[in-house]
């Protein structure tokens, strides 16, 4: 049987329907949709009907959409959008003096960054009166100490904090988790991407529930559905695997270990991951038939122009020719730690045709003119990139390819209405110079 659904209920809608417990769940077909995670359902049931305020933390761009989705799913809820830390403050202040029932029907949707800024007592928001957080020092915004040192005095009844896209929390020492540890309420993590790259990520992610970290939390984020002893064992195995996995003599043994570990971890994931994020697959099983997708890998060469730019003293010592960097690597590529990767990236990004430092923080208002660079020390060292955009564009094969690609974009037809419209494109790039290249296409065709 092929399962086709025109409209997926959406993870937030399902989650809200379950966890608020204020309305009978209408879409009983969810059981058919998520048969693999019955324990998640039990987990939710434990907290149904808990009275208090609900915080929903989401990626910044999705806050409005999420709020709309919640309203649509549960019209009895009062959904407030807090776009800035002061707005979080206003929302909380407005709830003071209200009845528990009113508070229980309130959901504040805000971006994780706003939540962190507000509750970790960042310098720029200390002017807000009667904040629930306070700390002795004036903490710079880039430090995690604000989260660690501040104390929370939350007088409102808190029902739960829900963290959407929880895979962005990579480590139990992250700023967000430091804060959440102080909240006297359950914290929910929703993700469909629990494993990112390596066992280390998994260790970081389930480290939240590790026994050693439990002392940090006022409320134990672990659940009944996930026994501590089980997690402890898996953590041990993962550590062992990550410790010996790279060594040849241990390889066979480690492969067996890995097999055992992934089996166990799969079980934990399937127990604790409440709802898959996309409607397209659950545990690798497709739910909805999607149109064909073609993947093209475009290999570009490292050009002499790249090399010249990389070796140019004007770019500073931080940027080297990628081939020189490669030749100087003293460790096997597979064993590089994250910090080393970052260093490698910074040094060799020029080899990927675009200088890393040509990134947006150094340009004000997205202007690509050197004069508009942020007047910081780092920008002083890098703003000459802006004056040499043409040289960069001319020497980069990636940018040349992109220029040709954009110039060949045609038209598309809307499947509903049949209207013809200019073809649309999404470009994932960390560099505004990409926009410059697209503008060049336009300018050249005027």
């Amino acid at each position: 049987m092929e399962l086709h659904r025109q409209r997926h209920p959406g993870k937030h809608r399902s989650a809200l329907n379950h966890l608020c417990g204020l309305e009978e769940q209408k879409d009983c077909n969810d059981n058919a949709l998520y048969p693999q995670c019955p324990c998640g359902r039990e987990l939710i049931a434990q907290h149904r009907g808990r009275e208090g305020l609900t915080f929903f933390l989401a990626p910044p761009g999705n806050v409005g959409g999420l709020a709309r989705e919640i309203k649509e799913a549960s019209s009895y809820l009062v959904v407030e959008i807090a776009a800035t830390p002061p707005a979080v403050h206003t929302s909380i202040e407005s709830l003071k003096g209200k009845s528990r029932e009113e508070i229980a029907r309130t959901v504040i949707v805000c971006a994780k960054s706003c939540f962190i800024c507000y509750f970790s007592n960042k310098r720029q928001y200390r002017f807000l009166k009667d904040k629930p957080s306070s700390c002795a020092a004036d903490i710079p915004s880039s430090s995690h100490e604000g989260a660690n040192n501040s104390t929370l005095d939350i007088t409102l009844a808190m029902a739960r904090v829900i963290v959407d896209e929880a895979h962005t929390v990579r480590d139990s020492s992250s700023e967000l988790l430091c804060l959440l540890a102080k909240f006297p309420c359950p914290v929910w993590f929703i993700t469909g991407s629990a494993t990112n790259l390596t066992p280390h990520d998994i260790l970081g992610f389930i480290g939240v529930w590790e026994q050693s970290n439990r002392g940090k939390y006022l409320h134990d984020p672990a659940t009944e559905g996930c026994r501590q002893e089980d997690l402890k064992q898996i953590c041990r195995k993962l550590r062992k695997w990550s410790q010996f996995g790279g060594e040849e003599p241990q390889l066979d043994q480690c492969n067996q270990e890995l097999e055992c570990v992934v089996q166990d971890y799969s079980a934990v994931c399937r127990k604790t991951m409440i709802i898959r994020t996309t409607g397209t697959s659950i545990w690798g099983k497709r739910l909805i038939k999607l149109p064909l997708s073609e993947h093209f890998e475009v290999r570009c060469d490292f050009t002499d122009g790249d090399s010249r730019l990389a070796c140019d003293k004007e770019f500073g010592a931080a940027v080297e020719d990628v081939r020189a960097v490669f030749n100087n690597i003293e460790f096997p590529v597979g064993d590089i730690e994250k910090d080393q990767y970052v260093g490698l990236l910074q040094k060799s990004r020029i080899g990927a045709s675009i200088p890393l430092l040509q990134c947006d923080p150094y340009f004000m208002e997205m202007s690509l003119n050197a004069e508009d660079c942020n007047p910081t020390e780092i920008a002083d060292n890098t703003c000459h990139f802006a004056s040499r955009l043409d040289e960069i564009v001319a020497s980069s094969n990636k940018l040349k390819w992109l220029r040709g690609f954009v110039s060949e974009l045609g038209t598309d037809r809307d499947p509903d209405t049949g209207y013809e419209y200019p073809e649309k494109l999404v470009v994932f790039a960390a560099f505004p110079v990409v926009a410059y290249v697209i503008w060049l296409v336009h300018d050249s065709q005027l």
Binding site: M1, G61, T195, T280, L344, V406, G410, P422, F428, I438
Partner: protein
Amino acid sequence: MVPIPPVPEGYAAPQCAPHSPNREQVKLVYSTNATMRTREQIMSLFSHNLFEARIIVGTYGTIAESYNLTRAAKAVLFQPDWLTFGEMQAKARIWRCGQRRNVKIYRLLTADSVDIIMAERQAQGAQFNQAVLGIPSDFAETDEDVTEFSEPRVYHEMFPADDTDEI
């Protein structure tokens, strides 16, 4: 869903000849230039207005999650992401529920560069994901991929109590 506005009066449908985007049609979504509200406006324009916001340029961090960009059928991954799921999420912006056209995704890699290291690391991560979650390493789909749900496995045997080694 917001209905698509009608074609403006006097609008001449573009020909199939190359039609280059003008500067106003290129929207940049970076953490420094696009506030929450601006991002929503840009995404709304992209999805619901056929003639504006033609090209969106953003990072994996800003636009690879939470958005539905099915108005586009082409995406360019200008550089690889460190995380396997980063790219998978990015691809899923256009190849997801609601997409009814064939999708083309272009991934750019520079030889002899850190791009290759990132791609290798991603492949390693993809294997791991495949092992743990059963998620395929790429999004290539065939007819066989749409399958009936299998019966939930029995998990009560998944936690053997024999391993008590300490590291």
